[in-house]
């Protein structure tokens, strides 16, 4: 079969099994868009800004496990995509981004809409390619998908100069079934000796804890993790990225750890004698002050990326491999072993954990005359029966969603954890809804974040992706305000939103339903009404307590045991801001 370069790109995506391309046209990709026009197999989703394309593809990838695909033009199209590429990179999300480039002969001449995309994205991609020869195009795309989806996943950019997609130049097309790259051989199974050592250590632990992260979700190892934890009877804590990898309503789950983690999770980490870190990377938001991190613990670390191991925290037993096969290997050894975890020690350990749990660190004022954001999330959980896909933006609302919506399944909690990208939530929700049209998709956001990609409301109308936007509106950049309250004597420098749009009218202007909720008793009925409108995007503008803070909190420079808790449960936390 002879195809031109533009057709090769689209046919390759089709052969790769791609359902959706999220993109925006422009000069350098006109040939490609002409090829898209002439076929129906791969659906193109036209966004309103290239950042939205990357986040939508990212949301799709996080929810499905399949790589997200983006198509942007050269120059500003490419640079607009960079934030979304970096977002995916930080959270190891598989994506393939095809960017147009000016024609090969004018590269380097500062041509119209020229930017060095390979150079600009180098630090925030797993790998990138500049295509120089149309006969290598199909193979390069195959390599891009191979690199993006294997090992520790990540975004891969394929930069395609316009002349490569010239419709007049046809070459034989064959999409390779397999590619190999001699310098790229990601590990699969773990080292047997290391695994044996790890199992021996686990079976002698007195105060063990399982600390698992996003790698368990990426590695499709939730089932194995759950079985592993149940077999051993150890407590489990998840990182922000790992929520849902272990069922949050399970009695062995002690909550999220880290800066806004639960008291019990952080204290258990601090007091533990053996930690097994599974697909987690000891991020600074998790560890707090490194010198005080888990002073009594011997650490086992399973990760597919050797560079994640002993990067910030030295570990005793590193295991390089995919989480799923390594956990299977460990489970087999544990079952065969004559040694069992000490019942007595675990009983003492759980008693201690129950005492920490009794602090009830997530309690808040339920009698408030104001709408508490925590209450909204709890109601969202009930109305959606815990089954929704929840995307979020970045800030206080993100932490409340993580704390008060107990995810029982992987890939349901979709947020920008590593890069912390405001504007992520809405386009990500659109990507999720395209993948799962029959499921409830909620975007928990705030009045500041939502405005960073609000233009995608238009995309939501065009492609009929009825998501529910839960806007926790406190007229502040809440998390910035909170830090200013804690660390800058309440000097609220530019953390307020002085002229917030009327979101209800805005939603209506975009063709959606808008609702404004300002009383606690209206929250539940409004949510029910919104989720009952199956075919409409609904924007719920919920006016919440402006002064509410996220607790518990480990302030920067402090250790896990040094947490700031909310005032004693039962007392009112309504207050005026200074």
């Amino acid at each position: 079969m002879e195809l031109n370069g533009a057709q090769i790109v689209i046919q390759s995506l089709k052969d790769e099994g791609v359902e959706f391309i999220f993109g925006y046209p422009g000069g350098a990709v006109l040939h490609l868009y002409d090829a898209i026009f002439q076929q129906d197999d791969v659906k193109h989703i036209l966004v309103r800004h290239e950042q939205g394309a990357t986040h939508a593809a990212d949301g799709y990838a996080r929810a499905t496990g399949k790589p997200g695909v983006v198509l942007v033009t050269s120059g500003p199209g490419a640079t607009n995509a960079v934030t979304g590429i970096a977002t995916a990179y930080m959270d190891s999300i598989p994506m393939v981004i095809i960017s147009g480039q000016v024609p090969s002969p004018v590269i380097g001449s500062d041509a119209f809409q020229e930017v060095d995309m390979v150079g600009i994205t180098r630090p925030c991609v797993k790998h990138n390619f500049l295509v120089k020869d149309v006969t290598k195009l199909a193979e390069t795309i195959k390599k891009a998908f191979y690199v993006a989806t294997t090992g520790r996943p990540g975004p891969v950019v394929v930069d395609v100069p316009k002349d490569i997609t010239d419709p007049r130049i046809k070459v034989p097309y064959k999409y390779p079934k397999k590619v190999s790259i001699r310098s790229y051989n990601p590990a699969v199974t773990g080292h047997k000796g290391q695994i044996k050592k790890a199992v021996d250590l686990l079976l002698t632990a007195q105060k063990p804890i399982i600390y698992s992260g996003g790698g368990v979700i990426l590695g499709e190892a939730s089932k194995e993790l759950t079985e592993f934890a149940h077999t051993l009877g150890f407590p489990v804590t998840n990182t922000l990225m790992g929520l849902g990898a272990y069922p949050s309503t399970d009695k062995q789950f002690v909550g999220m750890l880290g800066m806004h983690g639960t008291y019990e999770a952080n204290m258990a980490m601090h007091e533990s004698d053996v930690i097994i870190a599974i697909g987690a990377r000891f991020d600074d938001r998790v560890t707090g002050k490194l010198d005080e991190f888990c002073p009594h613990a011997q650490i086992i670390h399973i990760d597919v990326d050797p560079a994640s191991i002993s990067k910030t925290v030295k570990v005793a037993i590193p295991i390089v491999g995919q989480v799923k096969p390594v956990l299977e290997q460990m489970l087999e050894l544990i079952r065969e072993s004559k040694k069992k975890p000490s019942k007595k020690a675990l009983e003492n350990w759980w008693n201690q954990i129950d005492q920490w749990r009794a602090v009830k660190c997530l309690e808040y004022d339920r009698e408030s005359r104001l709408i508490k954001p925590q209450y909204v999330i709890e109601q969202l959980y009930e109305v959606t029966k815990g089954e929704a896909y929840v995307t979020s933006d970045v800030g206080q609302h993100q932490m409340w969603a993580a704390q008060y919506y107990p995810f029982d399944k992987p890939r349901r909690w979709i947020n920008s954890g590593g890069l912390g990208t405001m504007g992520f939530g809405l386009p990500a929700a659109i990507g999720v809804k395209l993948a799962f049209p029959d499921s409830d998709v909620a975007c928990v956001t705030g009045d500041a974040s939502i405005q960073m990609c609000i233009q995608e409301l238009s995309t939501a109308l065009q492609y009929k992706t009825p998501v529910k936007i839960i806007n926790l509106n406190n007229s502040y950049m809440g998390m910035v305000r909170q830090w200013q309250e804690f660390s800058y004597e309440s000097r609220y420098s530019h953390s307020y939103m002085d002229t917030i749009p009327e979101f209800v009218k805005l939603a209506e202007a975009y063709g959606h339903v808008g609702m404004r909720i300002d009383k606690p008793e209206e929250v539940r009925p409004a949510l029910e009404e919104a989720f009952a409108m199956k075919d409409r995007t609904v924007f719920l503008d919920i006016l919440t307590d402006r002064t509410e803070n996220v607790y518990p909190m480990i302030e920067s420079g402090k250790g896990h045991h040094d947490m700031t808790l909310r005032v004693a449960p039962g007392t009112s936390t309504d207050r005026e801001l200074a």
């Binding site: 797993k126 690199v147 001699r182 310098s183 560079a307 030295k314």
Partner: protein, 163 residues
């Protein structure tokens, strides 16, 4: 501690910038970097001298290995190895100093490869420390220009860095 990291890397445009970019992005220092194609034209050999604690060197080698273009690497400091650097030094001469510079160059097994009535160019190879010693032995005011390649290295014995 000083480490010499020897890297086999795909001979492709952009490969060098991936390595250099990694060092600047992660705040590692590069003392010197040399790169040239190998007997296999699809591969380049890169020799990189860096300094850091054991933890940092471990991270550097892991991060380098993570680059898709990096095929293989070794830290030469881990084993017995030979290190060589090429230097060319242009030195101002007078009737009185010419003999002295010639004999000094001879002591260091250097050779004089260009002569004008007022200058010599001395060529010398050796471990970096030997080149440093030669420069230290010469009157600093007479040095017009010094060009150094940066060290390259190879391990001793049968072991080698190859595919």
């Amino acid at each position: 501690m000083r480490h010499i990291i020897s890297i086999l890397i795909e001979n492709e445009s952009g490969a060098l910038s991936r390595v250099a970019g990694l060092f600047s992005a992660r705040g590692y220092n590069i003392e010197s970097l040399t790169v040239a194609p190998t007997e296999d034209p699809s591969l380049s050999r890169m020799t990189l001298v860096t300094r850091g604690s054991d933890d940092i060197i471990e991270q550097i080698t892991k991060q380098l290995n993570k680059l898709i273009d990096v095929v293989k690497l070794i830290d030469l400091a881990d084993s017995d190895h030979i290190e060589r650097e090429l230097m060319m030094a242009k030195i101002k001469t007078t009737e009185q100093t010419r003999e002295e510079i010639r004999s000094l160059a001879a002591i260091f097994r250097g050779s004089i490869i260009d002569v004008t009535p007022t200058t010599y160019v001395v060529e010398m190879t050796g471990p970096s420390s030997k080149l440093d010693a030669f420069i230290a032995a010469i009157d600093g005011d007479t040095i017009i220009e010094v060009v150094r390649s940066g060290p390259t290295g190879i391990s001793r014995g049968e072991k080698g860095l190859h595919l």
